[in-house]
Amino acid sequence: MKLKSRHLLGLDGMAKEELALILDTAVSFREVLDRPIKKVPPLQGKTVVNLFFESSTRTRISFELAERRLSADVVSFSTAASSVSKGETLKDTARNIEAMKIDMVVIRHAAPGSAHFLTRVVDANIINAGDGAHEHPTQGLLDMYTLREKFGTLEGLRVCIVGDISHSRVARSNIYGLTTMGAKVSVCGPATLIPKDIQQLGVKVYHRLDEVIPEVDALNVLRIQLERQKSGLFPSLREYHRFFGVTKEKVSKASKPITIMHPGPINRDVELSADLADGEHSVILQQVTNGVAIRMAVLYLLGTTN
C-alpha cells in the first residue's frame, strides 16, 4: 500500500485506506519518540525545506523535529528573513530554492491553494502545512490519530468542531479526514462564522453549544481571532466567550465526559476555559506529541516511495 499522490496537499479526496496507512505508520514513529535515542535513518541524504510564509511556532518546530528525527537535512525559512519582502513572487522563491537541489518542501502560506500552486512550479514533494482557510492536513491527521488513540476507532465517533469555521483550515481538514473515516462530524459557531453550504461537506450545523454537547464524544475547539470582530463577524470577545466559549459548566451538562481538543495556541478563557484545557479530559498535549509522529509518517511515506 502506497499513497496515491507524491504530495500531501489536503485530506479532501484522500481514500480511507490512505488515511489509515498514515495513521498506522505514525504508530510506529510514536514509539520512536519514547526511545532514549529518538532518531531513525530513512530520510538520510534527503533535504527538506520548510517554507513558512506565516508565523508559526508549533507546526514549524514539529515539522523540523520530525524531519531531523528521520535524519533529513533541514533548512527553514520564514517570512521575516525572506526575499518575499523584496517583492519576489512565490514562484520565483520556490524555484530558486529548488535550484539548490532539495527534495521536499513543507509550505505554510496565507493563500488557499498555495501548496497546489507549488506542485505546478517545482518538482519536489510538497507537504501543505496550512494554506489559508483551506487545509492543514497534518493537523487533521494528528487530531484523528489522537482520537483514535483515545477511542480505539473513528468509526461512528461523534466530534464537534467549535468556533470560527469559515476561516479555519483545521476545521476543513478535520471534516474531510474524519468523515472519510466514518466519524459523525458537526460544527458549532456563530452563524457569521459558519461558511455557506457547509452542510454539503457532510456535517451538521449547530449554533448553540448546549444543543450539541449532549450529542458528542469530543469537542475540537478552534482559536478565535480578534480581527474577525473588526470585520463585523462577531460583536465582542466577551459575548463570544459567553455563548461559544467551552467551559466546565457547559460540558458538565453531558452525561459522560467529553474529550477536549484544541489545535493551539489557546486563548485561555476565551474559546476554552483554562480548567478544561488543563483538565483530565484534555488531550491537547497528546495532540502536540502525536503531531511529531504524524509528520514523521507523512515525510517517511512521501520521501521514501518515489
Partner: protein
C-alpha cells in the same frame, strides 16, 4: 478586391433571409446576391458549401488594455485576436490608464483601431461613466459621444452611488447611449475571489455572493423606473436571480438589456477546485443552476447579447497564488466555438438567434448602423463553419495573453473568415 462567396448559407436576421446563395463583393461592396453566379476573371472564389454567411459579429465587451497596459494587450493584438475569433468589431472598456474618460483618449482608441490589422476590425470605445472611473463625477458624456464613444461604463468597478447612477442615466439618455453596469455591491465582495457557496467553502476561498450582483441590478431597475427615458445594460450577467430581475424589468417595458459571457453559460465553479487562476474572473463562475438559467435566458430572449469580457493578463500576472491573481480571462478566440458548441449544437439557440445575439442585437442597442445584405451595401460579414471540430490551443492565440480556462477543450464549429471595410481575412 473581388470576391465570390459561393454556395454559402446566408443567415441574415435583419431581413429574415436564410438561404443558400452566392454573393459577389467588389472592393468591399456587395455587388450581387443571387444563385448560380459564375466566377469571372479576376474574382477570387471562396467555396462556402456547408458554411454560413452571417452579418459581422461584434463583441461589445472587451479589454484592449491600451493605453497603459500594453504588456497585456494592445489595440493591435486585441484586434488580431478579434479577427481570428470571427469578430469584425469590438467595444473596448475604459479601464485603461489613463481611463477613457476624455475626448482625447476616446479618439485615440477609436482612430488607432483603423490603423491596425488593415482596419478590418472596427474599434468602438465604451467611455467611462465617471471621471477616472471613480464613481464621483460624471464624465464629459457629450464630448465622448462626439469622439466615438458608444456607451458608458465604469466596468471593473460598479457605479456604486445611487445618486451618480441616477444622473448618469439621465445625462446619457440625451444621446441615446446606454449606461453599462458592472453590477456588484462592493461592500459584500471585499476579499472574494470565487462564487460564494459549497465550492468556496470546500476550498477555503473567500466568496463573492450572488446577491452582490442581484442587489445592484435590483437597485438600478428601481432607478431606471424613475428615469425611463434612459437605457440600461447589464454587463456579464451571471446569476439566476439577477436574470429574474432583468426579465421582470423587461416585462414592465423598461429599457433594460443584458449580456452573458460564453464562460458563464459553459462552465461552473467546480473548475476552481484545482486552484487554476485561469478560472478566476469577476463575476465569478457560478453554479450548475446558474448556467442552466443563462441558457434559459438566452432561449427566452431575456439575454440580448453574448459578449466575452475578454480580459488579457500575462502569464506572470496569473502564475501566482489564487488570492493574488487578477480577475479575468481572454475570450475573443473561443467565443464563437463555445457558442456553436454549447448553444447551437445543444439546441439552446437556433443559428439565427445566435447571430442576433452576436451581431444584430448588440449593434442595435449601441445604435451602430445596421448590417444590410443588399446590393450596393458595404460587406460586413462573418463566415462560420458550424461543424468543424477543433481543439483550443491557447499557445496559438493571437492575443498577447493566453489566460483561458478552455485550453484543450474540444469544440464544434468556428469562424472561418471575416470581411469588413474592404478587407477580407480567411482562416
Amino acid at each position: 478586391m473581388k470576391l465570390l462567396l459561393k454556395g454559402g448559407r446566408l443567415v441574415d436576421p435583419v431581413s429574415g433571409r436564410d438561404e443558400v446563395v452566392d454573393i459577389q463583393i467588389v472592393d468591399g461592396t456587395i455587388e450581387r446576391i443571387a444563385s448560380g453566379i459564375t466566377v469571372s476573371a479576376g474574382v477570387k472564389e471562396i467555396d462556402l458549401r456547408g458554411k454560413i454567411v452571417a452579418p459581422g459579429f461584434i463583441d461589445m465587451h472587451v479589454h484592449l488594455r491600451e493605453p497603459g497596459y500594453e504588456h497585456k494587450e494592445t489595440i493591435e493584438t486585441g484586434c488580431a485576436s478579434a479577427a481570428a475569433g470571427g469578430f469584425t468589431a469590438v467595444c473596448c472598456m475604459p479601464n485603461t490608464n489613463p481611463a477613457i474618460d476624455d475626448e482625447s483618449v476616446a479618439r485615440y482608441v477609436h482612430e488607432k483601431g483603423k490603423g491596425v490589422c488593415d482596419g478590418i476590425v472596427d474599434v468602438y470605445p465604451i467611455a467611462a461613466a465617471t471621471k477616472g472611473r471613480k464613481g464621483e463625477e460624471l464624465s464629459p458624456m457629450a464630448e465622448l459621444v462626439q469622439a466615438g464613444a458608444v456607451g458608458f461604463s465604469d466596468d471593473g468597478a460598479p457605479i456604486s452611488s445611487p445618486e451618480i447612477m441616477r444622473r448618469a442615466l439621465e445625462y446619457s439618455s440625451m444621446y441615446g447611449v446606454p449606461v453599462i453596469q458592472h453590477a456588484e455591491e462592493s461592500s459584500m465582495t471585499r476579499d472574494g475571489c470565487m462564487n460564494e457557496g459549497a465550492m468556496a467553502t470546500r476550498l477555503g476561498l473567500s466568496g463573492i455572493p450572488p446577491i452582490a450582483e442581484e442587489l445592484m441590478i435590483a437597485r438600478d431597475v428601481i432607478l431606471l423606473r424613475y428615469t425611463p427615458e434612459a437605457r440600461y445594460h447589464v454587463a456579464h450577467i451571471s446569476t439566476k436571480n439577477a436574470l429574474a430581475h432583468v426579465r421582470k424589468a423587461k416585462s414592465e417595458g423598461l429599457n433594460v438589456t443584458c449580456e452573458v459571457t460564453p464562460h458563464h453559460f459553459t462552465i461552473t465553479e467546480d473548475v476552481v477546485s484545482g486552484f487554476d487562476t485561469n478560472t478566476k474572473m469577476n463575476p465569478p463562475l457560478r453554479t450548475k443552476d446558474d448556467v442552466a438559467a443563462m441558457k434559459d435566458g438566452l432561449r427566452d430572449g431575456t439575454i440580448d447579447v453574448i459578449a466575452t469580457d475578454h480580459a488579457p493578463h500575462t502569464i506572470d500576472e496569473k502564475e501566482v497564488e489564487y488570492t493574488t491573481a487578477p480577475f479575468g480571462i481572454v475570450g475573443l478566440e473561443t467565443a464563437v466555438g463555445l457558442c456553436l458548441t454549447e448553444l447551437v449544437e445543444k439546441k439552446v439557440l437556433t443559428i439565427v438567434q445566435l447571430i442576433q445575439k452576436l451581431s444584430t442585437n448588440p449593434r442595435r442597442l449601441l445604435s451602430l448602423p445596421e448590417i444590410v445584405f443588399k446590393e450596393g451595401e458595404a460587406a460586413n460579414i462573418t463566415l462560420l463553419d458550424p461543424v468543424a471540430e477543433w481543439t483550443v490551443k491557447t499557445a496559438a492565440f493571437r492575443s498577447k495573453s493566453k489566460n483561458s480556462p478552455f485550453d484543450g477543450f474540444r469544440l464544434k464549429g468556428r469562424a472561418i473568415g471575416i470581411i469588413n471595410n474592404g478587407k477580407a481575412l480567411f482562416f
